[in-house]
């Protein structure tokens, strides 16, 4: 019985982890797909969102304020980054893009150290969710984690609606799948780029804010997520929201279950999965190619 309850809890954890991963990697995949820019600093945006949540929660005492702030701040920060920096990187070679965004990682870390400090900080779970929901077999599940699960699913749903049902959404989809289409459709590519980058930044920062109470905030916290979200994009296929969604869930489950049952192989299992996908479908599971 307890083994079953444990497995159930692990699966819940895996889904919740996978959904957070989806918020990060969906932005990454769209930015790759639409703009053709490789952004290694995407994990730092996650870190910035988490620290923003920490600062807002410690000043106002409420994490609820941090969520809209992360989204709004993400949109503004993303738009600023795109207009000020990434727009100029687009035509550059990969080598330049890799190094420039690597420099951003270093500078963001340094700014964080200068503005705040280098400590671990824990962020309290909102009081009304600070209880545990009993699951079978004596295992209780944190209400906040369930809330994160619901919020992520809601955001994913909104994204799908936006991309599938709106005109701008379909333009983004077209741009992600066939960048040369954008000009044909008579859409202002510059505005699409700003929009996509702002949205991607906001999603990463929202993920950071949601994750802050779950894993504390600390220097370099975005690094692990960066690697995993890259793997999600490779497995899911470039520019594919659906691909990012399903592969994020898959990776979340494999990583979580792996850590629970074969801890030393978890990190390698995810990479092995990627190797299999590369052998079988080098352009990702959900790509149209």
């Amino acid at each position: 019985m307890t083994a079953l309850a444990g497995l159930l809890a692990q699966i819940l954890n895996g889904i919740q982890y996978g959904l957070l991963l989806f918020l990060i990697s969906s932005g990454l995949t769209l930015i790759f797909g639409v703009m053709g820019v490789i952004n290694l600093a995407h994990g730092s945006l996650f870190m910035i969102g988490a620290y923003l949540a920490y600062v807002i929660a410690s000043v106002t005492g409420s994490l609820w304020l941090a969520l809209p702030a992360a989204i709004l701040g993400g949109v503004l920060f993303g738009a600023l980054l795109e207009r000020g920096l990434f727009r100029r990187f687009r035509a550059r070679e990969h080598l330049d893009q890799v190094l420039l965004t690597f420099a951003l990682i270093l500078l963001f870390e340094e700014a964080r150290a200068a503005l705040l400090d280098n400590q671990f900080h824990s962020v309290p779970v909102p009081a009304i969710l600070d209880f545990s929901v009993p699951v079978i077999g004596g295992f209780a599940y944190s209400a906040y984690r369930l809330a994160v699960l619901v919020i992520c699913l809601g955001v994913a749903g909104l994204m799908v609606l936006f991309v599938e049902r709106t005109k701008i959404g379909s333009a983004i989809r077209a741009a992600a799948e066939k960048p040369e289409m954008v000009d044909l459709l008579g859409i202002d590519a510059g505005r699409i780029h700003t929009l996509v980058f702002a949205a991607g930044t906001a999603l990463a920062m929202l993920a950071g804010a949601l994750a802050a109470p779950l894993q504390s905030v600390y220097p370099g916290m975005g690094d692990g997520f960066l690697i995993l979200s890259f793997i999600v994009v490779v497995i899911g296929g470039l520019g594919s929201i659906a691909g990012a969604f399903w592969s994020a869930l898959l990776i979340g489950l494999i990583d979580t279950l792996g850590k629970a049952y074969v801890p030393q192989a978890a990190g390698i299992a995810v990479c092995a999965l990627m190797a299999v996908v590369l052998l079988w479908r080098p352009t990702g599971l959900f790509s149209r190619a």
Binding site: N13, F120, H121, S122, F139, L214, Q215, Y218, K259, A260
Partner: protein, 388 residues
Amino acid sequence: MRPLSRRFMLAGSAAALATPAIAQGAPLKVGLMLPFSGTFAALGENIAAAFELCLQENGGKFGGRAVTLVRLDDESDPAKAPANVNRLLGRDNVDALVGTVHSGVVMALVQAAREKEVPLFIPNAGNVAATRDLCSPSVFRSSFSNWQPAYGMGKALAARGVKKAAWVTWDYAAGRESAEGFRDGLKSGGAELTQILTLPFPETNFQPILAQLPGLGVDAVGSFFAGGGAIQFVKDYAAAGLRDKLPLCGSGFLTEGVLKPQGAAAEGIQTALHYGDGLDNPKNKSFREAFQKMTNRSADVYAVQGYDAGQMLAVGLAGTKGDATAIKALGAAIRAARIDSPRGAFTLSASHNPIQTIWLREARNGENRVIGAAAEALADPGTGCKMA
């Protein structure tokens, strides 16, 4: 406050101005290779400040020789460690090394101390190897071995009637070594360590592990975590509703310096460490006052370790009249001494690790209050140590 320059020199006294031409009058340079940035920065600052306090109390001299301190930030990056050690030894020509917190970086220090026969005082990192297989006449530790606090915790649990326990930790050397200590401690009281659960360092997603705990059939859960991982683990443990079913305990670092962010989740957790709040001895009282006066911070276990590193170097140099190169005599003097530490007086074992009392503490109202001794005069086994 962080100094602007990484090469921050502190003149011990006016004697530092003595001309180097007079060999004995030349100041002794001590390199403080500690984390002054990154996650462990606060630990590094406390160790450095307490070492400096010890030096001040000695009038800026150890063994009659003026001492100059050279600070170097090791960034807790083992890959940069060999180059950083070279900076201190080659560029700054230090005569003795103090460092560090990170157990990977300390390996490079130990190696340099062995190869170049420079005395090294380890003010925190608890890798057992430093005072076991890799022990050396020139390597001294003022802190603990990872084995010691966990042994104390295991012994205390067994004494309380626990029969079976599990250990949760990161999968790295400190975690594995503490698990061994816990196992040996339990065994000393007839109890058994039935399961070791690990996750990769410094992962803080504890859910996969927490979900397994109720099914293990143990009476108690011990753990080794530090810093942010400790905060998160204690909070997640409480959030999973496990606190009342399975008492959580651990090596003292589980609740060390992190009680405030852990809040109510930590209340009542018992841990074992070589230091704690409310230790009633005169040395502790005067040390805490002086440290508070000097830094405006409360002293903690890291400060104590830094302070005692200073005391050990002082004792050693007193025995060699200020000659740091006379490793044999230096070691003999330190081993013969009884170090009057704020944690309670201790002596050094043959493998240069403190033989010390491990205190049992309970977290109450933001303090790790000492409630008794978990293991008295506990020495690390020192297995495999062959002093050349």
